[in-house]
């Protein structure tokens, strides 16, 4: 089994007036924590944003698709790999997939339902026949069926999941054996301070109004609030590696891209009304060999507005990390952080000191990612 490692990602991010994730009244979601009302963005909303960011960045083989045209996709790969003509490749592809027993769709060659698979999985199946495709195409139908039946097609669909599926999991209601348990856990984002729901009362004027017509063409309200959010996610590295069929390099890639996507994505609710997209002011990663540690209790007592919410929240987080490490005696394997606070300014000097004490000197985000990868690689080598 892969060494048990958890990678905790802590983010402090301020959003201006916004409505990232709304409830059935159209207002931003909220929760009570520490006895006061907080702004909240659900874990599901932020995971969706992360996932979309992740899919947009991933190179083609790591992406996944959902299609009925799996036979054609496989045929394309076989023709690309070999000198076979389309007809021959199609016969082989059909036979390869026949052993899985997918129900046939209305159009010839289609499966009855959309199949969610990774491009890499299909590449692996196509590779099974690359070396002897010519021989296979020469066989008659019966011999071809027999020859192909021995190939481990199903195995490639049950393992080697695309990174997105390995990270975020998958549920297939009618084929439970294709289910994958997620390797990431994402908590609901909560504001570090008390927030009040506010309403923007708006009127819109009809541009084509006649001169003597007065009044608005439309009135309404949009609920919004502004918040410094604490966001937390953890990645179970052992499970991620298992989901990727034991491929440590793929797991490192998936982790790296997850850190990138989780940090830089945000739900786009009311984006055009509020243009709320910001970057985090602090990203800290903590690699642990024991257990994931969520530091939300740093904000159980709400940060007050006089304190300078953003800098104070970052400092609280750093202090909570230091306290937790000291009290429970569970030293992390490594820590790294990127933040935007400067030591030169008297207002944020204390924050920078605490952050440096907790997570080391601030790195650029690119360096944070490469440091993380290097440290985990070393840690894994140390145990093998």
């Amino acid at each position: 089994m892969t060494r048990r490692l958890y990678i905790d990602v802590h983010v402090v991010q301020t959003v201006p007036p916004a409505n990232l994730n709304r409830d059935d009244q159209g207002n931003p979601k909220e929760a009570i924590y520490g006895g006061v009302r907080r702004s909240r963005a659900s874990s599901q909303a932020w995971k969706r944003a992360t996932r979309q960011h992740f899919d947009a960045q991933a190179p083609q083989p790591d992406r996944s698709t959902r299609t009925k045209r799996i036979t054609q996709e496989l045929t394309n790969r076989i023709t690309r790999n070999t000198s076979l003509d389309r007809e021959g490749a199609d016969r082989i592809a059909t036979q390869l997939l026949a052993q899985l027993g997918f129900s046939q769709g209305k159009k010839a060659g289609d499966t009855a339902y959309l199949l969610f698979y990774g491009n890499a999985q299909l590449d692996a199946v196509a590779a099974l026949v690359t070396d002897h495709a010519g021989d296979l195409a020469a066989l008659d139908d019966k011999a071809l069926t027999e020859a192909v039946n021995e190939l481990p097609v199903a195995k490639h669909f049950e393992t080697g999941h695309p990174m997105g599926v390995a990270l975020f999991g998958r549920m297939v209601a009618d084929i439970p054996k294709l289910n994958v348990d997620a390797a990431v856990q994402v908590a609901h984002a909560l504001s570090t301070h008390e927030t009040q729901l506010e309403f923007d009362y708006f009127t819109a004027v009809d541009d084509q109004n006649e001169k003597d017509e007065t009044g608005a063409g439309m009135i309404g309200t949009i609920g919004f609030n502004s918040a410094t959010l604490y966001r937390y996610a953890t990645v179970g590295f052992a499970q991620l590696t298992d989901n990727l069929g034991g491929d440590t390099d793929a797991a490192l890639d998936a982790l790296d891209r997850f850190v990138d996507s989780f940090t830089l994505s945000a739900p786009t609710g009311y984006q055009n009304s509020f243009a709320h997209r910001t970057r985090p002011s602090l990203v800290a990663v903590v690699v642990r060999t024991d257990q994931p540690v969520n530091l939300v209790s740093a904000f159980e007592e709400p940060v007050t507005a006089e304190a300078g919410i953003q800098a104070h929240s970052a400092r609280r987080l750093a202090e909570e990390h230091i306290t937790a490490t000291r009290v429970w005696g569970d030293e992390p394997l490594c820590v790294a952080a990127s933040h935007t606070f400067t030591a030169g300014e008297p207002r944020t000097k204390d924050t920078v000191d605490s952050l440096t004490q907790a997570f080391g000197e601030s790195l650029t985000f690119a360096d944070l990612r490469s440091t993380l990868r290097a440290r985990i690689t070393t840690a894994l080598e140390g145990t093998q």
């Binding site: 009570i32 052992a238 257990q291």
Partner: protein
Amino acid sequence: MTPSEPTSVLLLRLSAPLQAWGDRSTFNRRETRPEPTKSGVVGLLAAAAGRSRHAALDDLAGLALGIRIDQPGSILRDYHTVGDYRGQPLLSAAVTAKGVQKPTSPAKRTHITHRFYLQDAIFLAAVEGPHELITTLEHAVRHPAFPLALGRRSCAPTQPLTLGQRNGTLLEALRSEPWQATPAVRARWGRKNGHAAHIDLPATLDDPTGDDVRDDVPLSFAPTTRTFTTRRTRHTYLQAPTGLTPDPAQPPTTGGHDPFALLGW
């Protein structure tokens, strides 16, 4: 468990901004009980110990459970929509003769569910069982095989999750463990109650002669054969230390069960 076997109690502090302890939610309304369920606690221990969904649970489900409500929290309703982000229509619940889900007609793109959470709650869970198993579980909770959650995946616990092992009975452990409410809540309660040294906290205990029945003992977590059975429980109040220093000028009260307090009498 044989009577002669030495037993221990493992104390878990279940605290997080959000928790969810469902015992009957299979469809679009995902409810939560006001306190942790046995299946939730057993599931957490099984995940910590690295058991698969198909693994046997008899030993874990056989542990005696006691829950003390240190900070009851309140219910949060979360409006939740589900959609295919590629914009494709969703599948309906009905299936064809072949067991394949039918498409929705007319095409439906957004599915609505309601998820209920407990917000701002803190519980003390005590699990009693054979000493050896409890020791294994304590280590597992400190070094979990899978990320742990308080009833639902997005409900990551805050630290410390485990307060360690205690000798003696489950009831003794729940009585002697200091009140786990947050400092602000304890201070506010102290000001109102003369900083009394003890507080009465509601608790639910496994009890074969209890007068309440809960259908939350897991027999299997396997995705296709999730099954539960019942247990008998008893609801009671336990006096726990508050960790406060009594104010001699004010008569101490226990702040116990006082229904009229809600009316401000």
